[in-house]
Symmetry: D2
Subunit: 424 residues, 4 copies
């Protein structure tokens, strides 16, 4: 793919950031490219995932709104129709003679946050700022999707022998899509899996061959419901959902540390009540717990559930707790770390190769990695450095577009090498 085309593609995706299960424009655009490349073994929407395993699917009204927005933005109508109901994402397959089945997973979703309008923010200055107000590609998944397509094209043009499957995964930001893709039939025969992330505080020219220390995570949504009452005239008649919520927040953060390793808890978005003079009848906590291992995450989750129940009971409220996203922990296999690091060292533009680094956050690529490893295969999560002015998830995040080509090159060469050497 020409550099111009890569940049134009990435910027088009950047202009249309879409959150989990709403990647309508994005999927259409990806499919369009796949067709341009000439790959016909293609699975779109429901065909790409286990439809039972989608997490955090928004309600119909929300889906319709984004569906229409994609249509208005010019999404390809025939593809769009196959995504109706929030079945986004796709899998492209290239089969080229004898050889192992290798997977590449890239995530394609955006974030719900506003993008900077600052002149120093390149997308704003150069006219490819988000057109979906309130949403933004603030984590580089626009670049990920572009790299996925670039690798697909590079492989079709190479002497690669084997099968390559590129997984364009929806809903990573909400830890909502990994499980559905991991449980699809397409992953079942994958012997080697690479996933990748751009940036992560590594500059352009740096490559990390295997990222580890993914925290297992569980997103939870707790809804407290009580009884409203006039706060002046009859405060005793209420059952105060905001009091329950506040008690829960205080006691969620105070779940004991665990001696086995790192844990996390956050009540990241909360709210409740209707007016200053009404005893609040409802409140919610959108939160998460994490653990260095899946077990530690589960310890946190059990304690969190207990706190939420007790807090509701204290104030005569009901609470329902829903899991909105989940991902286990995972580890990159040394077998692939070796291949990627030795390939990377030879590639132009790569100035420094780190064998391993820690993420310290969460990712649902771990679902796919675990699945492949469980089946006896190997997986690695590769970091492609990029100079990014703002931090991930901030309003001024952007990528150095130079790094996209580096990523395509390192990943596609690693795939060819894996196919050739079949490391064990």
């Amino acid at each position: 793919m020409s550099t111009d085309h890569l940049i134009e593609l990435r910027r088009d995706l950047h202009r249309h950031p879409e959150p989990a299960w709403r990647e309508f424009y994005t999927t259409c655009r990806i499919v369009e490219e796949i067709e341009r490349i000439g790959v016909t073994d293609l699975y779109v929407g429901r065909e790409a995932i286990d439809v039972e395993e989608r997490l955090a699917v928004p309600d119909s009204a929300e889906l319709v709104e984004w569906f229409n927005r994609a249509r208005e933005a010019g999404a390809k109508e025939d593809v769009l129709e196959r995504l109706d109901g929030g079945y986004t994402g796709c899998v492209a397959v290239v089969e080229r003679g004898e050889g192992p089945t290798i997977g590449l997973r890239v995530d394609i979703d955006g974030l719900l946050r506003e993008e900077s309008r600052d002149d120093e923010h390149a997308p704003a200055a150069e006219g490819f700022r988000s057109e979906n107000e309130g949403a933004m590609h603030a984590c580089g998944h626009d670049a990920h999707a572009t790299i996925g397509l670039g690798v697909l094209e590079a492989i079709t043009e190479s002497d690669f022998q084997g099968t390559l499957k590129v997984f364009f995964q929806p809903g990573e930001e909400m830890i909502a899509g990994g499980k559905a893709m991991a449980k699809s039939e397409h992953l079942a025969d994958v012997e080697y899996l690479l996933a990748l992330h751009i940036g992560l505080d590594h500059p352009t020219g740096e490559v990390v061959a295997g990222i580890d220390d993914f925290l297992a995570v569980s997103h939870l949504h707790a809804e407290f419901s009580g009884q409203p009452a006039h706060a002046g005239a009859e405060p005793d008649a209420g059952e105060n959902a905001v009091q329950a919520m506040a008690a829960a927040i205080q006691n969620l953060y105070s779940i004991p540390r665990h001696h086995d390793g790192a844990t996390r808890v956050n009540a990241g978005q909360v709210g409740g009540g209707t007016a200053s003079n009404i005893v609040p009848e409802s409140a919610y906590i959108e939160g998460e717990v994490r653990g260095q291992t899946t077990e530690l995450m589960e310890y946190m989750r059990e304690r969190a559930d207990r706190v939420l129940e007790g807090a509701a009971a204290m104030h005569g409220c009901e609470v329902t707790v829903e899991t909105r996203g989940e991902a286990p922990s995972a580890r990159s296999d040394q077998q692939l770390v070796d291949v990627v690091s030795s390939v990377a060292r030879t590639r132009p533009g790569v100035e420094r190769v780190l064998e391993r680094d820690a993420l310290g956050g969460s990712e649902d690529a771990t679902y796919l990695m675990q699945e492949v490893q469980k089946n006896g295969g190997y997986a690695s999560y590769v970091g492609i450095g990029t100079d990014h002015p703002g931090g991930h998830h901030t309003a001024t995040f952007d990528v150095d577009e130079e790094s996209i080509a580096i990523g395509i090159d390192v990943i596609s060469r690693s795939i060819t090498e894996i196919a050739a050497t079949r490391p064990e």
Copy 2:
């Protein structure tokens, strides 16, 4: 005014509920009626209030939105222009020979809550449900404004001797308009003041000559600001505004009871944070404190400020606390209670007269009552019963339109009688 006209007027107001300082359509409609009645001594917008004393004025964008909505709904253009900037409300004056100056205060604002679409809810069934989605006349101020106009007309047609001033007050629901109207020049010479409220769980045919036990109230808006951080990767780098908010909520409700009388506190609407995986950098509490006396309210307010400050400090956050509305306590004077109750007993449609009853809530008519009483005058807050299917502030609140005429009759006859007898 004919019953048909009364009902048509009330329903027109009902279709256009507008919250504090956004009563553009409402004020225009009221002015139109006043002009129809033939009262020319009329003060509109800035002329009707002390412009420095408005509380809880919304931002320009919000004002513009409601202003335009009123224009689209057909508000009289020349009046509308005089209200620009959120200067709503008006005062109509009738001067008829020698006699005391008597005030009548009616409030005209709606509430921000959705109105029921249920078939059993008359406004929905009969086609005068709110056209301002998300807003509703759920407390009967549409009837109050109608009664105010009805009284104005009745007085012009009666043998009343003296001066009548009808205060059409904005922003009562938010305790935001009473002070501005109390501090206007128009109230300075008022010797007798009546205010009124419909319903309050009294059925059609019941009149309360003097309502008491207004709780003094202060609305406060607290904004906590901290520092965001990734909740998985670097939770220690954050200063958690939601933790500060939760600590504040817990400790606001636990401000000690006061031995001098009733107090109240409510964190009625709260929220914070941006996403489940971000340490929340901001949070807010929209709350209120009340007291049986103004002093008790102030005790609560001081303690609340202390709690808010301490909670922010505990979590390394800043907090700013703004007063969004305030009203003192007040008491109806026996002199007027006597007049109203004896008049009411003689009026058709009135089946039961109570001398006094307690409100148990708050009202900023108290600002006007206190002002008049401070100047040596007398005030009473009169209850006009109405059968209301849903409670005040609920989605199915409605008034029995029969009670509007009763209200006009009782109030206008009481005014005539006060003018005739000048009670002391």
Copy 3:
């Protein structure tokens, strides 16, 4: 009784303050006086109360300790033996011809607090400071017992016609003895009941004929039990009873105010844990709730129980809640207020008579008052002013001994007058 004898008696009691069900020395000393006066119709210990209704009885070790202390202080051995097991208090009966049965209730217990050693504190300066270290007559019950004996003697020497029963009640400070005495057979036929309290911020020479506004109260003792663990090595293995306790405290104080009237809540004494490095396995709250009415107290108590349960559940702990004392609300009858106030106005030393005043605290005389009122009788709680340097329950509380004689005079004359006039 001579003034010297009164003072000597009161000071002897003052030197031996004893808390609930430990009034061994005190009861013996009272019995000694009753015998000196010559009253032989006397019920001691188990005979004086309903033994099933004692609340907050201390454990055997504690009882034995105070029993031995009383013996060492010279308590009359034959009486002492009748009190074994914490059955303290007595009832003295004088039957004198035809006439109504009138009760006088005085409380006799001390408080667990240290007495001041300051030279300005008369008991310290004049050598009658508490000899029971850590206990003190800091509320004037030494004077109450003395007045009770003085009245008994005065009545035996008067022309009183009827039956007088003086109830020397244990355990008022802990709200622990009133119920047991109210349920004894001795109260069943009482037609008129007076109770009294000295001081209450009224100076010597002032008399309050009927005190009201007793808050109903319930003392509760909550024990949280969890699981200990090493706080450094395995914090996750603990179930933290102190966290449960802290959550409970925060949410107890935040039980909503009630629109029907005053409520109170206090976690007056709390504690938990064993060492800074051990996750606390136990904790307790010694607290109370009150209400302006018995119903309001019960509302608070139900909410408190709910909070305690929920807080324990949040932290994986168990909680047991025990009622350690309880008293209803009550009101003085106008019939007796009239008699006492008219008698008081005629007595030497009385300079000012108030018909009524509010207590604002709690008292278990209310159990006896309610019992008498339920049986169709009348009751009043009389205040006898005394100059007291320190506030009630403080280390420097003391009474003006002049007021003891005034109290005896006013109460005994009121009893004679009630007997003579049988008010209805």
Copy 4:
């Protein structure tokens, strides 16, 4: 030392457990043994420590009580006098020709907890249960002191060449004595330091050559002071120290986890208030924070101080926070781990040698280790396995006395070997 003598000595110490700076009997008994062994270069009390650096020194009354108790138990009078004022502990020095200066640190204090009376608890069954009721050697420091003396004797009888200093350190349990001993002049020239602990869930026959992962710790004592008030009559007049304490507890446990490593927090012992009907005027938290590194401990400590201040401010209280004990983190040097593990493998009774293990708790031996390491020397913390029926710090903790001889043998041989080989 004969086995009989060792056991008799250990049991004598076990019968007289003494907490920090109260090790009067213990120090006297140790000095007696040192004199018996014939070591005359001996530093007792003030001579053994930097007197300015003692932490958590109890008040005089407490010191006098334990001093007298030691005297009554038969402590050697001339030594005892040198310890007056809580200057306990000692340092014994053996100088034997040319060779390096090697330190051995053993801690000698007991714990404040009751010892089991169960028949299955050997000290109870065999008559050497604690004679200091409420105190217990529940962590094996009786065995540590015995091993220290055994090593001293073994070295004097060996061909050791160099200088051995045995540090008998007070107050480890409270993290109160390590700093004072580390800052004494005696440690300044120590080139190699061993410290030891018995048990730690390692059975008899197991040796750990170097223990790591000491959590840095800071003990804090927070005192809240407010204003008392009658909880029924005037709750608003109080400033509630228990409310402040509860808010602090809730928010201490919720100090954010740190991404750099493990942290801990505990409010291990708390209390407040005087009576159920008094608004509590005082309360305290005896707590601790820990960190995997000294920096992490300091992060926790700063946040804790902030929480304590904010919580006090919220409730109008003052808080004073005192550091009652502190210890840094430390790491055993491989140089000594190598020596100890190779020596241990050759000793009779040793069945299994672990190179390293993690403590996961805190220890103030780290002060001495850090001091030696800072001066360019090496240190290791050695684990001597022992079958212990109950866990450390529980009422049934006991050691297998067989392990004492093993400990003496392994440690003294290691010291000889270190002197001979001077590892670098």
